[in-house]
């Protein structure tokens, strides 16, 4: 196998493997870019986004400051909740634990002075499903699968760099389209620079 041949195959097989991620990022970008449209469409249905699963007395000490993640984990464990999560203080009297999987989102609201816990489920929305996948990444979550997804996100951006590199190589080896290619490349960089300069 010659190098140009290898280069073409790498470009192709990489794309075929990462196709679902590529499609997901494209579709979800549309949901981000036109969020007002999707929001208005959903509001027209008149259905509540959150529904209460349960409300119960519950007690846990919440420190005034510091890392709240351990508190969030404890609230989840005590109440049979599972998934990736984030914990934040909604107000001086309220702590929220946001628990999310790709298909389902839940929030646990802990009211500190009332010592009460309210757990709500979010109605499935396809645009939220897409944007949730798009925004997911990083290595802050404890689970091995969550970290593996972070690795896959790295593979996707590395794949994109490889597409550029292998694509440029293929273009350079087509002498007849070099001039037009230069024009397209220069036009792209000029447009991008103009945006940076004037936005």
């Amino acid at each position: 196998m010659t190098y140009p041949h290898f280069n073409r195959r790498l470009h192709l097989y990489l794309a075929l493997t990462l196709l679902p991620w590529f499609l997901m990022y494209a579709a979800s970008s549309l949901a981000f870019s036109h969020d007002q449209y999707f929001q208005a469409r959903d509001q027209a249905k008149g259905a509540p986004l959150w529904t209460t699963r349960f409300e119960r007395s519950y007690s846990i000490d919440v420190p005034q400051s510091g890392d709240l993640r351990a508190i969030g984990a404890r609230i989840m464990r005590d109440n049979g909740l599972a998934g990736s999560f984030g914990t934040y203080r909604q107000s001086p009297n309220q702590l929220n634990v946001y628990i999310y999987t790709f298909l389902h989102s839940t929030q646990a609201k802990y009211f500190i002075t009332e010592r009460k816990l309210v757990v709500e489920d979010r109605r499935f929305r396809f645009d939220h499903f897409l944007t949730g996948m798009h925004g997911r990444g990083g290595f802050e979550q404890e689970g091995i699968l969550e970290k593996t997804w972070g690795v896959l996100v790295d593979l996707v951006w590395l794949g994109m760099i490889l597409w550029i590199a292998t694509g440029l190589y293929m273009w350079w080896h087509l002498p007849r389209v070099r001039a037009w290619g230069w024009l397209a490349l220069a036009g792209g960089f000029a447009s991008f620079t103009l945006f940076l300069w004037r936005l």
Binding site: L12, Y13, T17, L103, G138, V153, L199
Partner: protein, 198 residues
């Protein structure tokens, strides 16, 4: 002929959109390794620093909204462009976030004291990349912002086109059909597994 045209569009689109792809990949790297970058930079993104403070007396039309006031203030400072504005609860000051991708600024106008403060964000590449990654949508009325939002939509359309034209080109190469199908199925199975599992 159709195949050749498809190949050329696939390639020229990719060449034209190379800066967008580079920006989105670099920013994805930064956002996927936020903790690592926080350690590298020694903390979260820096706070804005005061660039200018001045006496400023503005007169606005009687029925002017906060948004109109903000636009007038920015224009008078030669800082016109995309912004968000809010009114501070404690003293009614107008706080304008000028959404410049290179140098975002915060402009605070305190009418009671006739004082205007301009603060700017110190340059930091990770923050710049994240700002660019997140910039989209048609909320701003400035022509260039609408053009940028359109460029994002164009990029999405190009991604879809790359997928479809790529599939067409793959199918034309008989020798790659079987191994290509294996890679495509492996990717789809892996993706589906994660959708269900996490």
């Amino acid at each position: 002929m159709f195949s050749k045209v498809l190949r050329r569009i696939h390639m020229y689109l990719a060449l034209f959109l190379t800066p967008w792809v580079l920006m989105y990949t670099a920013s994805t790297f930064v956002m996927n390794h936020r903790e690592w970058f926080r350690e590298l930079y020694g903390g979260s993104t820096p706070s804005p620093v005061v660039e200018r403070e001045m006496r400023y007396e503005a007169s606005f039309p009687e029925s002017a909204s906060t948004k109109q006031m903000a636009r007038q203030i920015l224009a008078s400072l030669d800082l016109d462009g995309a912004f968000n504005v809010s009114q501070r609860a404690r003293d009614g000051a107008i706080v304008i976030q000028r959404l410049d991708p290179i140098t975002p600024r915060r402009v605070t106008y305190d009418a009671a004291q006739a004082k205007l403060t301009i603060e700017k964000m110190p340059w930091e590449s990770r923050a710049f990349l994240e700002r660019m990654h997140r910039r989209r949508g048609y909320q701003q009325s400035y022509a260039l912002d609408i053009a940028w939002a359109s460029s994002v939509d164009f990029f999405i359309a190009a991604m879809t086109f790359w997928v479809l034209s790529g599939l067409w080109m793959w199918w034309e190469l008989r020798a790659t059909r079987a191994p290509g199908a294996c890679f495509a199925v492996a990717g789809a199975v892996l993706f589906a597994f994660f959708v269900v599992a996490i």
